[in-house]
Symmetry: C2
Subunit: 425 residues, 2 copies
């Protein structure tokens, strides 16, 4: 049997040549079709596919162990809990159903009406329920840039940074799906020239270009997941915009880390691209020196070549690309992150989100935040519509798009987008 | 109608004079009775009361809006979502049913067999499902002690500390209920005299004496909860032991805060004592100087007088009290904590846990951690069985007990207990 990744496959559903969603992708998401119910689905080209309807109509009958209601859910969590062999069976079967050589659904108009929807007409929801959201800090270029700005070149990287993937716990309740807008946060800040803190809307609202992986259920509390086992516990990846209010964060974060400067909103893309789909885009991470402790060691291609672009679209204006980064720049790979997270026995669950931290690269054009692109406000970013920015203004939409292209096949994540609404006073 | 708090009330269930659970308490918890199901319940004296059986047998028929299956649940979350007026109705009705003057259940042997259980024979479970766990740092004495140890007396308190209740996000997945033991965490540490980090079991395992409040559903993302509204969003409180591996934490925590040094386990007590039950124990917080910003201001008695004692019980030895603290020592009260947490629009859900941070008091006997009691290992703590401790050893159980006593009535939280099992290598 062909796998979904087979590069020569074509679908009988029309797919534009620059689409993120050819038949080689088959991501998973949750949406509300035109009707009044919620379903798990996938996407080919601009067609959203209702997997619960496919299942109900018997198209998964050969996968005996697939629970009857597994796609008639508000989140992917139950499906994720079934584990990698099942994700793989479903993804490969979907590729078969939509293969251009397969007529079983293609020629059944009545079934197609129940199963296929225009992506523009469905409402995408959060793909998973996340109990725990962790954010790492795994881009050396980003850590260096921030370190230089706030502590000078000599002390830019903290002593622990090259020994472990630094991370912290984020807020799960305020994770929102692409398309949900949010209000500029208000809070307490202390301007450099002020004696006492002030209260008001954040003036230094920023995005952070990140990606995140979504886990399945791990081991029991007390048992660690090794770097070799890690990928078995990872369902797939999404784009993450870890919105940051730099002025709130700067005043609050000592000594326990970011809190209100981050937890007002975190946006993620709606389609989870599986690690299986990312397989053809494996690449090596930057060399690690010093060699990490044994529990963090990995070999071979343990990361992925994923280009991620960010755009600002001011209200009533055009979008402008402000940076291009790549997931492969990260110093610490996802297997190292997960092994570190669980080495003390910390348990993980299906739906947990573990984000990379801001991904910056070696060139200025690769910097993944306005803090770095404007170098803490010292520089101005010129936009295509004539506007200028140092940080985000009300009405600005920030859009991130990510895709892989190995010269043979392109797959992608679509986009994650949200607009900054004015602060509520 | 009498409320549950009425000090002269007595129950027809026997209650020892020093019990934490007289009829004036009526806490809520989740347990597995002798049978093979899970129920929400309450407790009077040493009797666990199955609220789902009470409901099924018609004892709540006068509370019309109470959903049929609300007590036949694995967690309190759905009940909490019903809101304060319902919590109050149920609690007052339970007090009526068990009032010594009421014969309706007292004289019904068949019903009593279905409803009443010996607490020693039921298994307590986690009372709530917690999506988000936040830990504050609201004891000035604790922050001062830690600051003096690590930064010296001059810089003990960070500049932000008296302006806002510093807090951070913790890990929800590893919250465990009293009685669940855990393994000593392993991880990466950097001893003061080492050139490079080492890997192994934590040598500086500590407890943190804390309490936490459990919220109900808050407002929508973007809307804040004011200090005046805050208590309406708080269901009740539990004892919290925020286990800490000091050596793992010291190496990892810059610049993003505690992570693996904390997220291997957090223990909570199983019975949630409602704010209504705590009403007679209201007291004032320490004076705040400087006056906080308006969004953090409160007046009147916005905290509670709750004594909390901690004990070490080495394997095969006796328990020894190691400290006595009090919830009232906290500089920031729970209304300020919740108002701060949501001022940027961060949303909260039923079951969220917000802990106080280590509660230390003015005297050495009030210090709420071994870090402070042993002054970073400089002092030795002598136990009643002849043992000595600076930090926790394998086989040690740490027990915390908390209660209120206003001279008329005593209510309490019972205990939170866990044993340190040896590290898994």
């Amino acid at each position: 049997m062909l796998t979904a990744n087979e590069p020569n496959r074509k679908s009988w559903i029309e797919v534009e040549s620059n689409s993120d969603f050819p038949i080689q992708n088959i991501p998973f998401g949750v949406f509300i079709p035109t009707d009044d119910f919620t379903t798990i689905g996938t996407r080919i080209g601009n067609t959203a596919i209702d997997l619960s309807a496919l299942h109900q109509l018997g198209y998964f009958s050969e996968i005996e162990e697939l629970p009857e209601d597994v796609f008639l859910q508000d989140t992917l969590n139950d499906f994720i809990t079934l584990g990698r062999p099942m994700w793989r069976k479903v993804r490969n079967r979907v590729a078969d159903i939509f293969d251009s050589t397969n007529g079983e659904l293609k020629n059944n108009t009545a079934h197609k009406e129940q199963i296929l929807f225009d992506v523009a007409e469905v409402q995408m929801l959060l793909p998973v329920f996340t109990q725990d959201y962790t954010d790492f800090y795994s881009s050396m270029e980003h850590a260096m840039n921030v370190g230089i700005m706030f502590r000078g070149k000599e002390n830019a990287l903290m002593p622990n940074w090259k020994h472990l993937p630094v991370g912290y716990h984020g807020r799960s309740s305020s994770i929102i799906v692409s398309g949900e807008d949010f209000h500029r946060p208000v809070g307490q800040m202390k301007p450099a020239d002020a004696e006492v803190p002030v209260f008001g809307p954040s003036k230094l609202l920023d995005f952070e270009l990140e990606m995140g992986f979504i886990t399945t259920d791990g081991k029991h509390l007390g048992d660690r997941i090794t770097t070799d086992e890690a990928e078995d516990y990872i369902f797939g990846m999404v784009l993450v915009n870890d919105w940051s209010a730099r002025d709130i964060q700067a005043w609050e974060y000592v000594p326990l880390g970011p809190f209100l400067g981050k937890n007002f909103a975190t946006s993620i893309s709606p389609w989870v691209v599986t690690l299986d789909a990312l397989e053809p885009y494996r690449t090596e991470s930057p060399a690690q020196d010093p060699t990490p402790l044994p529990y963090l060691q990995t070999s071979g291609k343990r990361t992925f070549d994923i280009e991620i672009d960010a755009f600002i679209e001011p209200e009533n204006s055009v979008e402008s690309k402000i940076c291009t980064s790549n997931f492969k720049y990260l110093y610490w790979n996802i297997s190292q992150q997960l092994a570190h997270h669980t080495v003390n026995g910390c348990n993980i669950n299906a739906g947990d989100l573990m984000a990379s931290g801001t991904i910056s690269g070696p060139e200025e054009a690769n910097y993944g935040s306005l803090l770095e692109l404007s170098w803490r406000g010292a520089k101005t970013i010129k936009l295509d519509g004539g506007e200028e920015r140092k940080f985000l203004q009300d009405g600005d939409s920030l859009i991130m798009r990510g895709h892989c292209n190995n010269g043979t096949t392109r797959i992608g994540f679509g986009e994650v987008r949200a607009k900054v609404l004015p602060a509520k006073e």
